[in-house]
């Protein structure tokens, strides 16, 4: 309608409103990010949350016998829930049950039934037979590497595990390698030995447990643990 575009050397209302709204939105987003930052609490590693380390002993996890050392005679193909028990800085015994991955299932099969899994498929790590005691006792982190569920025995075959969550299947006799379903990795084995009638951890999990994206992440985490726990 007007022939001349209005020349305004000053800042226009529209421009002012746009800049103000832009600034407001920017500040809003930034404050939201900072608020979200506080939504994620810091993680403090305590002896209770540390992964099993060399020298820990395996104790019962069932409520009625919690904290009692596991005897070989109590073990069978059915699996017994266990926690690793170590010591804190003052030397007091501490059950490491603050970290769900530390929940172990301990099985006992005749030693010559174990097989080294062939490479390929999901068997990323070859089972080291020296992680099994002379009596054939073997311990795994009983958390499915897919979504972190505790995995019971397959009712049709006690040498296999069958996860109730998304039907991941593992073979207990082949280093808990994945034989079906969506889990990405075999269940992490915990090397143990028999010492004075107690099951003693010789080394932490040989592969990354549930929640670690890959072996490198797990190794980095172990370095941190070493620094803090010593």
């Amino acid at each position: 309608m007007t022939r001349y575009k209005k020349q305004d050397p000053e800042i226009t209302r529209r421009k002012f409103i746009n800049v103000a709204m832009g600034t407001g939105a920017g500040v809003g987003v930034l404050s939201l990010v900072s608020a979200l930052g506080s939504a994620k609490p810091a993680f403090r590693l305590t002896p209770e949350k540390a992964p099993p380390i060399k020298g820990d002993i395996l104790v019962h996890a069932a409520a009625d016998k919690e904290g009692q050392p596991i005897r070989v005679s109590e073990l069978s193909e059915k699996g017994v829930s266990a926690w690793p028990m170590g010591k804190d800085k003052e030397g007091n015994p501490v059950i490491r049950k603050g970290e769900p991955n530390n929940q172990l299932a301990v099985y006992r099969f005749e030693r010559d039934r174990y097989k080294v899994p062939e490479e390929g498929g999901h068997a990323h790590v070859v089972l080291e037979l020296n992680g099994i005691t002379a009596d054939g006792v073997v311990a795994y982190s009983n958390k499915c590497t897919h979504a972190g569920c505790a995995v019971p025995n397959d009712p049709n075959d006690s040498t296999k595990l069958f996860c109730p969550c998304h039907s991941g299947q593992y073979d207990l006799l082949q280093g808990c390698k994945v034989i079906g379903g969506p889990p990405p990795r075999s269940m992490p084995q915990l090397p143990i030995k028999l010492e004075n009638d107690q099951l003693v951890v010789t080394e932490t999990f040989v592969t990354a447990p549930y929640g670690f994206l890959n072996e490198a992440d797990w190794e980095t985490y172990l370095e941190q643990v070493k620094e803090i726990i010593g």
Binding site: A62, P100, Q103, A147, G148, P164, C165, S167, G211
Partner: protein
């Protein structure tokens, strides 16, 4: 008194604008109302439950089974308060009503959406309300899932661990996201207070706001008119007014419906917290999500394991099965109004058989959801001997693709046959009427 109120609140304007809103007379239009009634009952029972619930996962002595002084029986406070609610007069009943109402709300919403889809009520100008409805469905499921976790028994503990895992599976940001959403590494010390906040404040707030928007838009745009309205008075709004005709019908329906739910809540127990016990290291069997999320569970069960590393992020089977695939499905549902390109506003509910492709696509979609839900029972199918571990995935995948394809073709075929018969009838009638002349 009416005059006094009217002078101050202009009730007559409210009456003209809202209370005279015409409701179509057809039973299928009650589905949305049932969803609304469920939400109201959920809020009432939820408030009552919240008064007795203790949102904390710190350990307390179980007053029902205290153990000994040297070795006290410690359980999470949230679990303990769930036990106390069960011990309250009608406490267990309250939990059951809340649970069944939640299931029925989602069911009613799903059937309501089916009505909208099959009669084409999502078309212009009602696209926005379809999208708001989709958001309502998503947030209703999230509210239900968070509610599942609150009793913090062993079942809830396993459920939340899976939900944490799914959140964590997002490439690049998953770890941060899961820790921010669930108050630290699972199981964080503050996980129950956090989820309680979601379940009683954040999500119901979102649900109420969306419901308000949904209904205001519906009042502004008016219901789609059933076909009889076309014959009765073309392009006029036909129906009974909210005040005073529809209101008694709604009240009657609300009471009857609530009464029915209360009745079967009395007989069908839900989520027995005593049976599952407090969170424990023992594996749990038969864990399944509620029926409306079973298809995601099924997709996760039949997806083979893989991990793909892309620019430092890991794309896992879990992410694809529980985030990407449902994202595609939900995205397709969001896109439904975009499939229709008509320029004119839509007034009348369509006869589904006049739109065979839309009808067949809808039936095929529902068939796929059902097959995936059945795939959620993969363990039972294998352990029951119906399938084997070796062939389960293959067979279930073939069914997931095959059954919907068959349903699509069959629906198209049947509808075309019906239409052919109908047209033959019309020709026949026409021929006879000519003979009469």
């Amino acid at each position: 008194m009416n005059q006094w109120l009217d002078d101050r609140l202009h009730l007559s304007r409210l009456n003209d604008k809202f209370l005279r809103k015409a409701f179509p007379v057809h039973h299928s239009f009650f589905l949305g109302e049932i969803t609304l009634f469920s939400l109201i009952v959920l809020i009432i029972t939820g408030i009552l439950l919240a008064l007795a619930y203790e949102p904390s996962n710190s350990l307390v002595v179980n007053s029902f089974d205290p153990g000994t002084k040297a070795d006290p029986n410690l359980v999470p406070a949230a679990y303990h308060s769930a036990l106390k609610i069960n011990a309250m007069p009608f406490g267990d009943m309250l939990r059951r009503i809340h649970h069944w109402m939640a299931n029925i709300m989602v069911a009613a919403a799903v059937i309501h959406m089916m009505r909208i889809y099959f009669t084409g009520a999502f078309k212009k100008p009602r696209e926005i309300n379809w999208w708001i409805g989709m958001l309502l469905l998503i947030f209703a499921s999230l509210t239900a899932v968070t509610g599942y976790i609150l009793p913090y028994d062993n079942y809830a503990y396993n459920t939340v661990s899976v939900i944490y895992a799914i959140t964590k599976s997002v490439p690049w940001v998953g770890d941060w996201l899961a820790q921010a959403a669930f108050a630290g590494r699972f199981p964080g010390d503050g996980i129950i207070p956090r989820i309680y906040g979601y379940h009683i404040m954040l999500l119901p707030g979102i649900l109420l706001a969306l419901t308000g928007a949904h209904m205001l838009i519906m009042i502004k745009q008016k219901h789609t008119q059933p076909q009889y309205a076309k014959r009765l008075a073309y392009k006029k709004i036909v129906g009974v007014p909210l005040m005073t005709q529809q209101t008694p019908i709604m009240l009657l329906l609300a009471l009857l419906f609530t009464g029915l739910v209360v009745l079967f809540s009395a007989f069908i127990p839900v989520h027995p917290v005593e049976y599952y016990g407090p969170p424990s290291p023992d594996p749990i069997s038969g864990i399944k999500p509620d029926w409306y999320l079973l298809w995601v569970f099924g997709a996760l069960a039949i997806i083979p394991g893989f991990e793909l590393e892309v620019l430092g992020g890991v794309i896992s089977a879990e992410f694809v099965g529980a985030m990407l695939f449902p994202g595609i499905i939900v995205g397709a549902m969001f896109a439904v109004p975009m499939l229709d390109r008509s320029k004119d506003n839509m007034y009348y509910a369509e006869n589904p058989t006049n739109h065979p492709v839309r009808l067949a696509a809808g039936v095929a979609f529902l068939a796929m959801m059902i097959v995936l839900s059945v795939a959620g029972y993969k363990i039972e199918l294998i352990q029951g001997g119906l399938l084997t571990s070796a062939n389960a995935n293959t067979i279930l995948w073939i069914l997931t693709i095959g059954v919907p394809a068959v349903c699509y073709a069959a629906t198209l075929g049947i509808v075309r046959m019906i239409r052919a018969l109908r047209e033959a009838d019309e020709r026949d009638a026409l021929a006879h009427s000519h003979a009469d002349d």
